[in-house]
């Protein structure tokens, strides 16, 4: 997947360079500026996530969101998903492993949903771009939405 992204970027960059060197230079300058703008916060986020994941190992997670944990488990799964920030290619296999290990579909649905849409550790970055009101409200709505996702996924997997 990364190869495609790099290929497209390189092709467009070369095309742009041949069309207009000056504009390309401006584009690269802008790219660097937005990158260095966000880098300090991103590094903080990565460190916090590293620490969280070291503390929340599978055993701890499984205890919280087992198949019989019910709505409390769904709630806690959403909380865990909101706080952590795991890239998808780690999150999905982990979720599959947790399902095998005895987690419920509803809880995993809530976990995946809040993992993707709610970002507690990235809130400072989000506020920088969207302001406090939208950031808090968006995360709160996404958190509530994960319950709906849990409910429907639980229903689909158990009845269809």
């Amino acid at each position: 997947m990364n190869i495609i992204l790099y290929a497209i970027t390189l092709a467009l960059l070369l095309f742009s360079f041949f069309k207009d060197k000056r504009k390309t230079k401006t584009a690269l300058k802008k790219a660097w500026k937005s990158f260095s703008n966000i880098l300090p916060q991103m590094l903080v986020v990565l460190l916090l996530v590293g620490m969280l994941l070291a503390i929340l190992n599978e055993e701890v997670i499984l205890k919280i969101i087992g198949v019989n944990s019910g709505w409390l488990g769904v709630f806690l799964a959403s909380v865990v998903g909101s706080i952590t920030l795991i890239p998808g290619f780690i999150a999905f296999p982990t979720a599959a492993m947790l399902l095998d290990g005895g987690a419920g579909y509803m809880q995993i649905g809530a976990f995946i949903s809040s993992l993707m849409m709610v970002g507690i550790v990235t809130i400072p970055v989000e506020i920088k771009y969207f302001g406090k009101k939208i950031t808090y409200l968006r995360n709160a709505l996404a958190f509530l939405f994960s319950f709906l996702v849990a409910f429907i996924i639980g229903w689909v997997v158990n009845t269809l």
Partner: protein
Amino acid sequence: MKSILKRYRVFLIILLGLLIVTLFNKTLGLHALSVTAYSLKELLLVVPPIFILLGLLDVWVPKETMMKYMGEGSGIKGVLLAFIIGSAAAGPLYGAFPVAAVLMKKGVSFKNVLIFIGAWSTTKIPMLLFEISALGMKFALTRLLIDIPGIIIISFILSSVISKKEVKEIYENAGDLSS
């Protein structure tokens, strides 16, 4: 030099804290450091091309074009485009914020910016394929089918509770962040 130190202050303090923790609890500390190093590698791999594409978009695509297709009154066309751009993306959610800033600068309506953020967070196509292989078709498709209306509803709620003045402030700030 001083300004660099200041900007990375929080990061350096937490890193120092983590190193101190590692002295007392080696397993926990090393685990945390290795997870961090792993995500850092992912970040450095995925994020640079996104920012370069962003720079190119900013320089080459005129504001009028973006406004026409995704601005106020662009209707269903704008919503669809926001979904497509967001879903084609790669990288974690925080990578979406700088992109959103450029979209705002280009005059994309606030509702469509929010839909873009929602799509980036949940309906990314590369991730969907991965989700199907890990959790099964039923799980992945169900989630996708709930998430699409969910993203639209959340975007409508958010853009309806915020005043024109507040949107204007966010847009002005976005211009400063990405210029």
